[in-house]
Amino acid sequence: MSFDKSAPLMSIESDDAWLDEQVKKKVWTGPLDQAIKMVDSLYNWGRRGSIWPMQFGLACCAIEMIAAGGGRFDIARFGSELFRPSPRQADLMIVAGTVTKKMVPAIVRLYNQMAEPKYVMAMGACASAGGPFKEGYNVVSGIDKFLPVDIYVPGCPPTPQALFYGFLMLHKKINGQSIRNAPWYQAEEHEAIPEPILGPDIFDPRRAVEIKQLLGNESEMEARYIRLAARAELKHHKEGEAAPKPAAAKPVAAKPAPKPVAPAVAKTPAEAKLEENKADANFAQQAAQHHAATAKDDAPETKAADDAAKNA
């Protein structure tokens, strides 16, 4: 179906001049875009004002989450005081604490059980990136390895105020969404995120074939170790220096590049950044795409929507 979006949504033409006049006065007519924005603003206002978080605490951060619910900080001011024990009734999953490999399948299952629209907030350093426990053998380096995260709240643990700032940011994000491009209103169905499997180590079933192929290909595996070691060194390699020697075929053996004999010329941060990007053009490209995507997601359409509401 195609139609002119800028044309009025409906036109009423009758023989009765009085009726026409009354319709023009009392009934708002305008382009479809504007109508959707009006609906969005009302819809987002309602939704952001009553986000029900899931009653789901993993570790230390959960205590601060409970403190945020207490009388002193009072999360009810943000409309989120109703912690629901069931994922079916919750809008927001606050991943409050360290995500361990043993726990990840349960978290992914809980996320899949939540009804859309659903949001994920990574509260604290551990849920964002592994935090102080990152190097541990049972710790996942951030829940964003498995779930799409909307808001990251830094801190170890974040104070209740920091959590509230995260809530405000989430409100802002919800404000920027429209029923036209929100993923849960699209025609295609969303597949549930497959639960990771606990084998000799945790693995994502979507990567099973890739893992098998790579493990079977010994030379490629070795090359990958070398490439990674080289890449890690290249990123921080000063210009005009000889390329680093390929490190041994194990990550443990990856040593930093030899220190330059003469002090390198100091560079501006922008130049250094550029060089870094050159070293890994692929990464830069990905980052640019990511930025574009997030900018699109968070576009502040609220103002226009508000104007439309005023006009109405």
Binding site: I66, P132, N138, S141, A232
Partner: protein, 593 residues
């Protein structure tokens, strides 16, 4: 089983302290040929004489080592050394270390001590999980923190995790030429995983969990519904499991027939990281063990390292430590031990939010003023505390202790304990008899609620607790009601200690040694234990004269206490189960470590 009343329990006296050498002298007569060598640090016994030795130590009337503190292992280059700590509830005093050397590194086997001390059964599973040390005759030798099928034994020194860089911190690559290096860039999967070479994920079938149903169920036992028993998995995400605890419960109708706790959902490798950290780096990690009682955790660890270093903190620092510890105990009891139980028993969040959180915020403000952080204070240092409290801090603390906290304790008792609904829900539910509690190695308010007068602040005084005048309250029955009431009584005793400490605190230095980032400790080993709100927390540290501990083991009180869950719940309804769990008062950070 007979329950000891408070009058019957023997008072804990500081009698003649036995150390390794004197016990070894007695042991030579008791068990023939058991002792290999003995020093003040501990006794090395013959592998095949271990159980006889433990039996003798437990039954000897003079020694009466009836309490099992901990078992752990040390991975030496040529052997595994399994270390047992036992102590006596009637005598008090420091624990005795027993060691067994396992020279076969491929297949280390030692007899299980579960037949002597019930408490050993759960802790031996931990040693098996971490080191692969097998315990002959163990009823349930499976992995406890990691899942079945996990590759490797993580606390062996030969185990290198995916993000491994170096054996000791600080890592050379951490700030290389002014740049950080993202560790994901160094591993092939860009993730914290290692796969063995022959691993085929496309055909991999996850190993199914072994569910242990009630032992010896006969057909006649399932009476209520005349059906088969049902196994219900409660957790890891459940509103009343206090985090990510999980239980497999076998039910006959609504009656619990068997219960098995399942751990590991918050196992964040405290010990492995601790062995790589320099000593001072571990202090903030201990905060995150029992995150409701961070100050107590720091104190225990710091006392352990101070014993290794041979330093003592100055007077003012000792007083500040006691003040912080007792404030922490009050916070922890109000929030975790009392508030959460009521929400488990159906009062939703009212007791936590009204009674637990209000005073917690006031006390936590004091912590923030002293240390800069609300929860993770990182305040204790080796040889003192980080810095003195700010001006006026003590006055605010005195005001709180004199006028506010006693009233709250009274109010809690009036409205929460003397409450008809609570009486019905809590009395005679989850009873733990005294002899079983001791045999399981239960500690803290749970042990005292069962009628055993054993408080480490009195039995093996650390810091300056021997100077204060306070009582050790005990319960009579060991049910939920007693545990709850006991915690309120303990809050009163803490207030008593706080009053004395705030009155007597001297002026002066807060650090006895120069602050140092990196230092070496002399060779040796130490087991330092403290009375934390959730029981006995012990740090077993082995030093090899470097800047990092060679072995770093934490004995968590609530982890050991949880072993009694089945004992307490069988025969009760499933609705009482959450109440019992609440009264154990667990924090998953220290249970799973």
């Amino acid at each position: 089983m007979a329950v000891l009343s408070p009058e019957q329990t023997k008072p804990v006296e500081q009698s003649k302290a036995f150390d390794g050498e004197s016990v070894a002298a007695l042991l030579k007569e008791g068990v023939d040929g058991a002792v290999v060598s003995a020093s003040s640090a501990g006794i090395v016994v013959q592998n095949d004489k271990l159980i006889a030795t433990l039996q003798w130590l437990k039954q000897s009337p003079d020694l009466a080592y009836d309490y099992f503190n901990s078992v752990t292992a040390v991975d030496w280059p040529d052997k595994f050394e399994v270390v047992y700590h036992v102590s006596s509830t009637s005598r008090g005093g420091p624990p005795l270390a027993l060691k067994v050397n396992l020279n076969d590194k491929e297949n280390p086997v030692v007899d299980s001590a579960g037949s002597v001390y019930y408490g050993a059964i759960q802790q031996e599973r931990e040693v098996y999980d971490f080191f692969g040390v097998k315990f002959a005759g163990h009823p349930n030798l499976r992995r406890i923190f990691m899942w079945e099928g996990f590759e490797g034994y993580p606390l062996r020194k030969s185990y290198k995790e995916a993000y491994y860089e170096q054996d000791r911190k600080p890592f050379e690559t951490r700030w290389d030429q002014g740049h950080h290096i993202i560790i994901e860039d160094r591993v092939p999967w860009h993730d914290n995983v290692i796969y063995p070479k022959d691993f085929d994920p496309t055909t991999y079938k996850q190993i199914r969990e072994i569910v242990r149903v009630a032992p010896n169920i006969n057909e006649g036992d399932v009476k209520a519904l005349k059906t088969q028993p049902v196994v219900v998995s409660i957790g890891p995400q459940h509103p009343s499991t206090h985090g990510v605890f999980r239980m497999n419960v076998t039910l006959d109708g609504e009656t619990v027939m068997a219960l098995e706790p399942i751990f590991g959902y918050l196992h964040r490798n405290h010990e492995k990281i601790g062995e790589r950290n320099m000593y001072i780096m571990n202090t903030p990690f201990t905060d995150r063990l029992d995150y409701l009682a961070g100050m107590c955790m720091e104190t225990g660890y710091v006392i352990g390292v101070e014993k290794l270093m041979g330093v003592k903190p100055p007077e003012r620092a000792e007083y500040l430590r006691v003040i912080m510890n007792e404030f922490t105990r009050i916070v922890s009891h109000m929030f975790g031990g009392i508030g959460q139980v009521y929400s488990d028993l159906g009062a939703f969040f009212t007791p936590i939010v009204i009674y637990g959180l209000e005073e917690r915020e006031l006390i936590i403000d004091l912590f923030e003023a002293a240390s800069g952080s609300r929860m993770m204070c990182n305040y204790m240092r080796f040889g003192g505390v980080w810095r003195d409290v700010p001006e006026g801090w003590l006055d605010i603390a005195r005001e709180l202790v004199d006028n506010r906290l006693p009233k709250v304790a009274d109010e809690m008792e009036k409205y929460l304990v003397h409450n008809e609904i609570f009486d019905i829900r809590a009395k005679n539910i989850g009873v733990l008899p005294a002899d079983l509690a001791v045999s399981y190695g239960v500690s803290g308010p749970m042990l005292r609620a069962s009628g055993v007068k054993y408080d480490l602040r009195r039995a093996d005084p650390y810091s300056i607790y021997d100077r204060f005048d306070f009582d050790v309250p005990v319960g009579a029955n060991g049910d939920i009601y007693d545990r709850m009431f006991l915690r309120i009584k303990e809050i009163r005793e803490s207030i008593k200690i706080l009053r004395q400490a705030l009155r007597d605190i001297p002026n002066g230095e807060t650090m006895s040694i120069k602050k140092a980032y990196s230092f070496k400790t002399p060779k040796g080993e130490v087991y330092a234990h403290i009375e934390a709100p959730r029981g006995e927390f012990g740090w077993y540290l082995v030093s090899d004269n470097t800047t990092t501990p060679y072995r770093y083991h934490v004995r968590a009180g609530d982890f050991v206490n949880l072993a009694t869950m089945e004992q307490m719940c069988v025969g009760h309804k499933i609705g009482d189960l959450v109440g019992v769990l609440g009264s154990v008062d667990i924090i998953m950070g220290s249970v799973d470590r």
